[in-house]
């Protein structure tokens, strides 16, 4: 793996591991003799549940299908296969389930290789030390972190840069599974492993992280990027898809605060002065990206449990009730509180959240058209409480209050709400929230991300 090839070809299979991709596109990629194939596995986008609960975003079946194709392609062609942010959230349980799948596929197909597992879940003792040493700081308007925030977290991961992947490549690992990382990290590592400088390596990684999100028409499909000393070239592997200067520029808008400045561990990628040109009607070349080094920091991501939730869905078609829905819901809140108190519970033990669909259920306080006159509205009544039992009890009282309360001008005394389900109340279990918007200053990018190596498959 020590060739000094300055044109490096890298493939990304799809936006997230388990989203699926056409097998023909993988085969087309392999015909191009790529230096690696890989896929990003995660995102904070689906919310805090996955990091908090340790569950994977996509199903084991779907991840296995994707990993099986990628693994067999990589081993057959003698190239590395890398997965970033395994299992959706990149914590220890997420990494382990992907490792299990790899071992299973290897066994089924008689494959043998060296595998690296890069751990991203952080030890609370280590984080407390760093906090006390003043190495942990908030980003933007985030509050200062306190020791109890770290102690109370369900799970905290660091977002690794490319360095641990580079180390694993240097150690000869062919299959590298990473815990939580910055999305471009695996590809940046591979490109830099082959001597590509930071700026094009990071730009290439950014192109590849969401695969054919950089192409049109939008599909979950494979992207090939060729990167050199001073350029990045992107093309989709499915002949039905095209990269155009516009589609490539649009990828820079995706899920980023800025399309031209991107903060990464150890530096900032600037693309203000990029030139984006069509090589063919399906291939785009980008030049002029810059990398400005900065002190090395690792972003932290954490989830804490905020309680247990239960909810119910109901709807009203009564114009009299819809016309006074706010005062009615105020009454429901008060009346529920009285009934909950009668159970010997305090109002601190639960929160009742009422979302009004058909009015401002989607945008809440940001809804610009508050005066619209819907003919029906749906309510989702949710209770978050300190225990599931309290959540269930308070929701039950809120539900019956919604159904059977008088209001001025009430015409149907049999009930105010249409419930679509029996049972009406749904337990949601433990729920979580993201609790970190902080970085940690660290001298050695490897210290927070220990790597384990194993030989998978039959001994050679």
């Amino acid at each position: 793996m020590s060739q000094t090839n300055h044109e490096v070809r890298m493939m990304s299979a799809s936006g997230i591991l388990g989203y699926g991709f056409p097998e023909a596109s993988l085969n087309a990629a392999l015909e191009r003799k790529p230096h690696m194939i890989g896929v990003d596995g995660g995102s904070s986008d689906p919310g805090p549940h996955y990091l908090g609960s340790g569950k994977t975003l996509n199903s084991r079946l779907a991840m296995k299908r994707d990993l099986s194709l990628l693994l067999r392609g990589a081993i057959k062609n003698g190239i590395p296969m890398m997965v970033g942010t395994c299992g959706g959230a990149g914590g220890e349980p997420h990494l382990q389930i992907c490792a299990d799948i790899i071992r299973e596929v290897a066994k089924e197909h008689g494959l043998s290789f060296k595998m690296a597992l890069i751990h991203a879940e952080q030890d609370k003792g280590f984080l407390l030390e760093q906090l006390n040493a003043g190495k942990l700081r908030p980003l933007g308007n985030a509050p200062q972190l306190r020791a109890q925030d770290i102690e109370g977290a369900e799970r905290i991961v660091g977002m690794m840069g490319p360095e641990p992947y580079r180390r694993a490549l240097a150690e000869g690992a062919q299959v590298i599974l990473g815990g939580r990382g910055t999305d471009p990290a695996p590809w940046v590592a591979l490109a830099m492993h082959h001597g590509v400088p930071e700026a094009p390596a990071w730009y290439a990684g950014k192109m590849l992280e969401c695969a054919c999100n950089a192409a049109i028409p939008k599909k979950h499909d494979c992207l090939l990027v060729t990167v050199g000393e001073d350029f990045v070239q992107a093309e989709p592997l499915n002949p039905e898809l095209r990269c155009t200067p516009m589609s490539v520029a649009v990828q820079a808008l995706h899920e980023n605060a800025s399309p031209v400045i991107r903060y990464e561990p150890g530096g900032v990628v600037h693309s203000e002065h990029c030139s984006i040109t069509a090589v063919t009607d399906r291939v785009v070349r980008i030049t002029g990206m810059q990398w400005k080094p900065a002190p090395y920091t690792i972003k932290l991501e954490g989830a804490r449990r905020v309680g247990f939730s239960a909810f119910t869905i109901a709807a009203t078609r009564d114009p009299g009730l819809i016309g006074q829905i706010d005062s009615f819901l105020d009454f429901v809140r008060e009346s529920t509180a009285t009934k909950v108190k009668a159970l010997g519970l305090s109002t601190d033990d639960y929160q009742l959240v009422l979302r009004v669909y058909g009015r401002d259920g989607v945008m809440g306080a940001w809804e610009p058209s508050k005066d619209a006159k819907p003919i029906e509205v749906s309510l989702i009544a949710e209770v978050v409480a300190t225990t599931q039992e309290i959540a269930n009890a308070a929701l039950s009282l809120a539900r019956v209050t919604l159904l059977h309360s008088d209001f001025p001008g009430r015409m149907c005394r049999e009930g105010n709400m249409a419930f679509p389900f029996s049972p009406s109340d749904v337990e949601r279990g433990a729920i979580y929230e993201f609790m970190l918007q902080h970085v940690i200053e660290i001298d050695d990018p490897l210290t927070m991300f220990p790597i384990d190596y194993e030989t998978v498959g039959a001994a050679a």
Partner: protein, 106 residues
Amino acid sequence: MTRLKDIAKACKSKNAGPFHITLDIMFDDPKLFERVRATGVIRAELIAQLYGVPAESVQFTEYPPALAWKATIARRIPSGAIGDTDIYGAQQHAPLLDIEVPIQAS
């Protein structure tokens, strides 16, 4: 006056991490993009007004390579926290649609 929804190719919203929403306004016709740009209507202050946030808290970028504007603001409620209504942040774009642009639709 023309409304943005009648001339833009896309007006969209999406999470930029769990604590921010990013709003994109995109065109597919360079000439039309330049005409809208020349009006000076699309700027940080307008986004601030539409979403009821301070103008200085809007991170705003004009991005000609994609014929686009991008604005990033703090979420009302972090993604998935109690009371959130839009985990992916993909349905917070509606106020952009009715932006009035002082040009004649051709």
